[in-house]
Amino acid sequence: MVIVSSSSRPISLAGRELSLSAPNDSNSRPLSGDESERERAWGVAAAVKDPEVPVLTIEDLGVLRDVAVDGDRVRVDITPTYSGCPAMDAIRDDVELALTNAGFDEIEVRLVLAPAWTTDWMSDEGKRKLTEYGIAPPTGRAAHRGPIRVALGVRCPRCGSLDTREISRFGSTSCKALYECRACLEPFDHFKVI
């Protein structure tokens, strides 16, 4: 993995008191590479939601790539879904806030571009939640796409019909296309395979 971005931010209070849920007992935590601490930090970061698709966590999306803990220091690697994704700054802030509230003192969130994100990393649980939310999840595997593009059927998340058509390849966010169901006549978003 190539690290192309790093942003380390000591939490500074800019002259104000920031109320944190558990800021004071962090010094008593076990140090250095503790696996249970790593799991705890992963759990906290993994619960952060995507601001654009709030039913999905960044773990469901495959945006959360790595968490490393050394004492009170924690480093989180996230990867953008699309190069211009405006949610990345919000996700970074949310991860930092969640970990601060969980008692971690020094938090570094790094943006990694390689390997490039793919919808193949979205969890089955994430796909189930997307459907429930009314967004058709990605179909097929990006990794298996050859030069000949075969469009797999996109199932309407409302009535389940496969009789759907693409209205526009570009939708409300970079990751979505606009579809229409010919059976129930509802328009819906489809999370594109990339």
């Binding site: 931010r9 939490i11 802030d93 806030l97």
Partner: protein, 286 residues
Amino acid sequence: MNEGTVTEPVEAQEPVEGHGDVSVDELALAAELTGSGERAASADIAEYALWLGDDALILAQQLGAWITYAPELEEDVALGNIALDLLGHARSFLRYAGSWDGRSEDDLAYFRDEAEFRSCWLVEQPNGDFAQTIARQFLVSTYMLELYSALRSSTDPTFAAIAEKAVKEVDYHRDHAVQWVLRLAGGTDESRARIIRAFGDVWPYAAELFRDEELIDRLGDAAVRPSTLRAAFDAVVAAVFAEAELEIPAGSTSAGGGRHGSHATELGHLLSEMQVLARRHPGATW
């Protein structure tokens, strides 16, 4: 939409901690998360990052101007999304370029003057009518797809990583442009006449994209030699033009000069609009 059968969105049921709960004056926000923790290895690497970043930035700014003016709503959304991808590429490249001498991506985007930009003349050509934007978009995205495909093998790991990401996006940018070229060329007499005229207007500026400069010699395998992309570019153009029954425009070739800071007339106007707010209110955030 079938309200009776749709479950309530989760966030309506349980308030979750969102970034909306944080106000800017409570947390000192770090620099935005876009670019490079890695420092560019040399001034030449930084200069090359400027070339690529400025092409993407200027094209993003051009396409953004179409929003609410495109022929149909879906096209507003399409061009807006493509512009956003390009802006993402620009931010990654400019941040990397600025890492060499301590400038931020905003310093580079808003506080450089025209002669300090390194964009090519093709992206500086005006939007014109929709056909002209599509013609420009087809040539640029065809070039960028070949460029980023090759740049994935760069010996510079940051360039390789940005390219790996960008290539997947530019792939559908090109497809979008190809679909429109075919549709305009095969549409009405009016749309066909306009796309033919549009290619006549922008074609002379394609040559600059493939011109090797001294910088490329110095960068070796960290960069992509522009002239090596020409054959693949020509093959794609030939295939699409054959399908669209268009002919390669004959005639002149622009001298260009963007890589040396000499620009098309339109760039100054574009920059003045893009930069005025940041220069009027330096450091302002929203």
